[in-house]
Amino acid sequence: MNIKKIKKISKEDDAPSILTKRTKLEKVVYAIAFIIMFIYAISLLYPLFYLTINSFQDALVYTDNLIKGENPFAFPSTWHPENYITAIQGMYMTDSWGEKVYLPEMFFNSLWYCGMALVAGVFSCSCTAYILSKYRFKGRNFIYGLFIVVMTLPITGTGGADFKLFSDLGLYNNPLYVLITNLGGYGFNFLVMYGVFTNVSWSYTEAVFIDGGGHFTAFFKVMLPQVISPIIMLGVLGFIGQWNNYTTPLLYLPDFPTVSAGLYRIQKSFLRDGDKPAYYAGLMLATIPLIVLYMCFSEKITKNMAIGGLKG
């Protein structure tokens, strides 16, 4: 009697034979797809590679190579890690008070800017999503519809009114701007958390009520911990988005430049002086934390990213 060996199927490949079994024509198609996708992936890695190589280049050699059209990917004959020191200690921009703002201060600004934005944004969206997905009360449908309308109406031209409003509220050039503007509780985060809470069983809350707990206990001690994974995903994505956002700090927080806004303002003066490798070093310093952060949470982000539609 022949006993067939049962092939161990890994967690990742629940059904490898169907998803990966291909006909000859499909193999050709997938081969072409692979080549195109590979070339595209290489092209996306090019900026990192280019900037990393040239951030260790000598400034004069870099400029000389650029003028002569020499190989831009050539490894430096002499490596200059001091470009990174120059980026930290030598690159600065001037705020409206005439004070010099260096890269470390910009990093500090980015940290509190991103932290406040994502804590306020993710928390407020979690609250509104929980209420609207789990509770039925008068006006619930109206509020949900209102949030959807606010998100999906393509209104434009409010830049001037925005500026005037924030100035009148005293939020212009004020760190509280970040907190106040992110407490809306609607937007992409709301959609994600709404879908997440919809799929969390109400029986957890009922169990809390039976044990004598209230709604606040149920939300903060039971329901929020249930959805910690998507919250972390939104937090990471929000952090990355806010870190790279340069237009909002440029407009509304000119004296609190974040890394992105500061590097934008620096590039005009620094590149004029010709020290591009040091500028590239500054860009790399701003980018490396985000890459590390994404790599730590990439699995969580991929698994939790889901939106289901705007019906309702």
């Binding site: 169907i18 409003l165 890459i291 939106i307 539609g309």
Partner: protein, 332 residues
């Protein structure tokens, strides 16, 4: 006959001496229901009050303020309708870096998003879903443009298309070369160059979302399709696409919502020169100016332009959204 009293356990504040640990408090059902209802109401109000205030101030008040600004003179603040003829003149003048040029470029970026980026994202997501060789690496690398700052991507891209850069060296092999002023220094090529950059860096969130949606398609459906001899084209068109339609349509609606703010990193590339301005950049620049506090101060023209564009685009968007929602969702 002694009436039966329903006994309920209830929570007393800590430190209360009204009841011992062994006793059970007697509370009427109606009072308990009222108490729970009040707790629930307080909970809902506490959690919703700030978001609702936020909508009231930063959506309704702000938009009303913008509408009123459209009817005010920028310098004097007097009520006027003069902004509208000025807007029309700027929209219809064929030459110059004006609102008409901005609108045209905005439509280019929007069209690229809807007709190029989203369909291509769908196809690429399909191959990732089908586990093309290296799919795990591709999935992470394709998200890099969302992680890496625009400053980095623009800097590298600008150096690549520099007249003495790698692109010029590649073209030299074919007997061609870039113009001396570069692709970004000419009106004929500047917008196209930036549009190509935007397409190059746009396959991030869509791929992540579409791949996620595809991974939730029940395996049994794919298996049944395979057993029926379904090829990849039929699979993506007749099975995958209908099943991930809620995700695709949501992204489509978000893209539609951003129709007037479709743009590229104009500030980083050309600062709006060489015919590259978009509606979004034009409005930003009117507020930001050269960085001085308050920018140019011409908020009235921004509000007027916004009002006119929104008056046309909002009903159009709502109509298209209604059409999209008419499409049946495949349940599984």
């Amino acid at each position: 006959m002694q009436s039966k009293k329903k006994e309920y356990k209830t929570i007393f504040p800590e430190g209360s001496t009204d009841i011992s640990d062994n006793d059970v408090a007697v509370v009427s059902p109606k009072k308990k229901r009222n108490s729970l209802k009040i707790q629930e109401t307080v909970f809902i109000v506490v959690l919703m009050i700030i978001p609702l205030l936020h909508v009231a101030i930063f959506f309704f008040y702000k938009n009303m303020s913008a509408i009123l600004l459209a009817f005010q003179d920028a310098r004097t603040g007097d009520w006027t309708l003069d902004n509208f003829p000025k807007f029309w003149e700027q929209l219809t003048t064929p030459v110059g870096n004006n609102i008409g040029m901005a609108f045209q470029n905005t439509m280019i970026y929007f069209g690229n998003k809807i007709f190029l980026v989203m369909p291509l994202s769908l196809i690429m997501s399909f191959f990732l879903y089908k586990k093309v060789l290296g799919y795990k690496v591709f999935r992470n690398v394709y998200y890099l443009p969302a992680i890496i700052s625009s400053l980095v991507m623009v800097t590298a891209y600008t150096q690549f298309i520099n007249p003495k850069g790698p692109l010029d060296q590649m073209l030299t092999l074919f007997g061609q070369s870039l113009p001396p002023e570069g692709l970004l220094g000419r009106e004929e090529t500047a917008t196209t160059t930036i549009a190509i950059f935007v397409i190059w860096t746009s396959f991030t969130t869509d791929i992540l979302l579409f791949s996620g949606a595809m991974s939730r398609v029940p395996f049994e459906i794919i298996e049944a399709a395979k057993l029926d001899g379904c090829g990849p084209a039929r699979e993506i068109l007749s099975i995958i696409f209908p099943l991930i339609w809620p995700t695709y349509s949501t992204q489509f609606i978000f893209a539609l919502t951003g129709i007037l703010s479709a743009t590229g990193p104009i500030l980083l590339f050309t600062n709006g020169k060489y015919g590259t301005t978009t509606i979004s950049f034009w409005m930003f620049n009117e507020v930001y100016g050269d960085g001085t506090i308050g920018g140019t101060g011409s908020y009235s023209m921004i509000s007027c332009a916004g009002l006119c564009f929104s008056a046309v685009v909002v009903p159009l968007t709502l109509f298209i959204r209604w059409l999209v929602e008419k499409i049946d969702v495949a349940e599984y």
